[in-house]
């Protein structure tokens, strides 16, 4: 009745198909067949307040806005005259790379799909694949930040002095509280309550808060990060739950 088969590890499988692990019971999958077929297709997956039909219409509209021409037209590159080709004779011969690139008929969409597939296989070409990776780096960054204690931040390192010029102006401009005035040019007032002790130091109303300027090490780490993938850098949905506006004739 049951057949037990030892599955191979992923990614090395035959091209064209692979085993996909199921992660437990998915209610939407289980429910889908019991609903009417059409409604199931229309409403499945997309979630939220619009049906997949609306979502498709919107996607098509946005794709339409992205076009150069309304109709598909082929505009060939003019063929060069033979003598003009000869004129560029001093240029070295066309290499195989160049020939391959020039003959490539791939569109951006094709390249993007290749890229996404490569990332999914874990061999993304140097791009930071997705947020989990980014989160790991963030965690490391956070660790690095916490491992540079207050003494380091307190010492006037050049980078801290540099970046704090702007933070200093902002705090001075927005919260001209007595605390900042007392501390003068000190860059981390919140961290050095010992300087002039007073009973108000812990008063939440009077304390000025300036987040610590990241250490040079952290900045170097952030700068050396690889770029996000094309899709990961796309802007996210707005945080406010305000429903979209609708216009009667647009």
């Amino acid at each position: 009745m049951f057949r037990v088969e030892l599955l191979q590890d992923t990614s090395t499988a035959t091209p064209g198909w692979s085993y996909a692990p199921t992660r437990g019971f998915d209610p939407t999958q289980a429910m889908a067949p019991t609903l009417g077929r059409k409604r199931g297709i229309r409403d499945a997956g997309k979630g939220g307040d619009i049906s997949s039909r609306q979502a498709n219409a919107i996607a098509r509209h946005i794709a339409e806005l992205d076009r150069e021409n309304q109709r598909d037209v082929a505009i060939p590159v003019p063929v060069r005259q033979a003598r003009e080709v000869a004129a560029r004779g001093n240029r070295s011969k066309t290499t195989s790379n160049v020939r391959r690139i020039l003959q490539s008929q791939k569109t951006f969409r094709n390249h993007l799909d290749d890229e996404e597939a490569a990332i999914a296989l874990g061999t993304g070409g140097g791009a930071l694949a997705h947020s989990s990776n980014a989160a790991a780096v963030a965690a490391r960054g956070a660790k690095a930040r916490s491992s540079t204690p207050a003494s380091v931040a307190g010492k006037k390192r050049p980078s801290a002095a540099v970046t704090s010029t702007s933070t200093a102006t902002t705090t001075a401009a927005s919260t001209p509280t007595p605390t900042t005035a007392e501390m003068g040019a000190d860059e981390v007032p919140a961290r050095k309550p010992k300087l002039i002790k007073s009973e108000f130091d812990q008063d939440p109303l009077l304390r000025s808060y300036a987040p610590p300027v990241p250490s040079e090490r952290l900045m170097a780490r952030l700068l050396s990060e690889p770029p996000l993938s094309y899709n990961a850098s796309r802007a996210k949905a707005p945080s406010s739950a305000r429903p979209a506006r609708h216009f009667c004739c647009a």
């Binding site: 309304q70 951006f108 140097g126 010029t165």
Partner: protein, 469 residues
């Protein structure tokens, strides 16, 4: 932003031997190409002032055009076209990235390398690429395969002697931004240029809008965000609305782009403006004519007339019906007019409210915050106080005001929010690249030479520009 000095010194002392070694191979002449999807900005870098230097910069339309009479026109020849009706475009860039080098090579060849076609403009003629360093911009988050294609084309097809490929928005940090933000000058004007410390560059161009946090001239990659809306989408959206409501303009990209540039603005009171242009409110005829509704007279290539806008005349239709009796000239009677009311501000509005066209994406101000949310909180105030907007859409009236207002509303109250448009938002990236190129030490730190490329290949070049080697 304060001083920008802390940086170069340690690096220079750490690798003096290396940098001199590189500069030995790098040709002295530097050619800068800001390869925009709509316009290529190109010219030789020089240490002139920005005003003088911009006059040496040439803008070349980055497109092949097929006109109504099936003539194919390329790049700078577009200025010879007089009839733009039904012109069709082929652009080598998609989504801001060069995806079709066949077309791009033709445009570059005609613009920079062909002696015959560049004879008129010496500023863009690259006579001997072997003795020229190329600074080429690219949009952030490019696909590695497309980057590789660029590198291979530049080094193998044209064989530049030196080459840097860098992220366009980051180059803006090399511009002199202290005066832009009203900060005191900290350096003497003739010292070696250095990038600003913290600059948040909003680049709203033809194919997309990107937000790039730039720290000391380098992008903080995790904070780069992109909105897939740009000038092209605005034009197409306007085209669509007008075609639905008035004339069929779906094949008139060029003309609608001109209409957009002439009439569109970003509203700072959207619902108020909408109310004022409401047609059903005919009773308030007088108040609805307070300047929002415009007539755009479409160009007439046969009579050699260009398009222009003028205040709306509600009685024009009636007069035209009367024909010659109304005493209007034949010229006026033959003209085609688009009446533009809420189209004027509803179109650029999608940059701030993409949900108006159903796009599940935040508008530009919130994208700025999304970008910052990926960065340490200690940097937020520095970036919010130095927001610089470049790209053609920055020229839409009201854009800057709206961005400043909305960003102020949603940003943390403790932070100062300063949003400035670059003095020349179109050429700002190119100018920044020129300033960058005059800092030979920084340039040779990132550039590669022809010998190095031939030795190590394009894979190495890609890793090097990514900062991995």
């Amino acid at each position: 932003m304060g001083t920008s000095k802390a940086r170069a010194a340690p690096k220079a002392s750490a690798t003096p031997a290396k940098s001199t070694e590189f500069s030995r191979h790098l040709p002295g002449k530097t050619f800068v190409i800001d390869n925009g999807a709509y316009m290529i900005k190109a010219g030789y870098a020089s240490d002139l002032s920005p005003e003088e230097s911009v006059s040496t910069c040439t803008s070349i339309p980055n497109t092949l055009v097929k006109t109504r009479n099936n003539k194919i026109v390329i790049g700078s020849q577009l200025s010879t076209v007089t009839d733009w009706n039904e012109a069709m475009f082929r652009r080598p860039l998609e989504k801001g990235y060069v995806s079709n080098w066949e077309a791009e090579r033709e445009i570059w060849d005609q613009s920079f390398f062909d002696e015959k076609t560049t004879a008129r403009n010496k500023n863009t003629h690259v006579a001997d690429p072997e003795n020229t360093t190329l600074v080429l911009t690219e949009a952030p988050n490019a696909l590695p395969i497309l980057q590789r294609h660029s590198d291979e084309m530049v080094m193998e097809e044209w064989g530049f002697g030196g080459y840097v490929r860098c992220i366009g928005p980051t180059l803006n940090a090399w511009n002199e931004i202290h005066s832009l933000f009203g900060d005191p000058l900290t350096t003497s004007p003739d010292s070696t240029p250095l990038p600003a410390d913290c600059l948040l560059v909003v680049d709203s161009g033809y194919s997309h809008t990107t937000v790039t946090p730039v720290y000391k001239g380098q992008a903080l990659q995790r904070g780069v965000r992109r909105l897939d809306l740009g000038g092209k989408h605005l034009t197409n959206y306007l085209k669509e609305i007008v075609s639905m409501r008035q004339y069929n303009m779906v094949d008139e990209s060029y003309i609608m782009n001109e209409v957009k540039e002439a009439v569109c603005y970003v509203s700072n009171d959207f619902s108020g403006d909408l109310e004022r242009t409401w047609k059903a409110g005919r009773k308030h005829q007088a108040s609805s004519e307070d300047g929002i509704v415009l007539d755009y007279v479409l160009p007439d290539p046969n009579a050699n007339r260009k398009g222009f806008s003028r205040p709306h005349d509600p009685l024009m239709q009636v007069k035209k019906k009367k024909g010659a009796l109304s005493g209007l000239s034949a010229e006026v009677l033959s003209e085609d007019v688009l009446v533009l009311g809420n189209e004027r501000f509803a179109v650029p509005e999608i940059l701030f409210t993409p949900s108006d066209i159903g796009m599940k994406s935040a508008g530009i101000p919130e994208i700025i915050l999304q970008s910052l949310s990926a960065l340490p909180t200690g940097l937020h105030s520095a970036f919010l106080a130095n927001v610089m907007v470049v790209g053609g859409n920055a020229l839409i009236p009201g854009f800057m005001n709206r961005l400043q207002t909305e960003l102020r509303q949603i940003a943390s109250a403790e932070c100062v929010v300063r949003v400035r448009r670059a003095n020349d938002p179109i050429h700002s990236t190119w100018l920044g690249a020129c300033r960058f190129a005059t800092n030979r030490e920084e340039l040779s730190r990132v550039a590669i030479s022809r010998q190095e490329y031939q030795e190590h290949g394009s894979g190495w070049a890609g890793r090097r520009f990514a900062g991995l080697v």
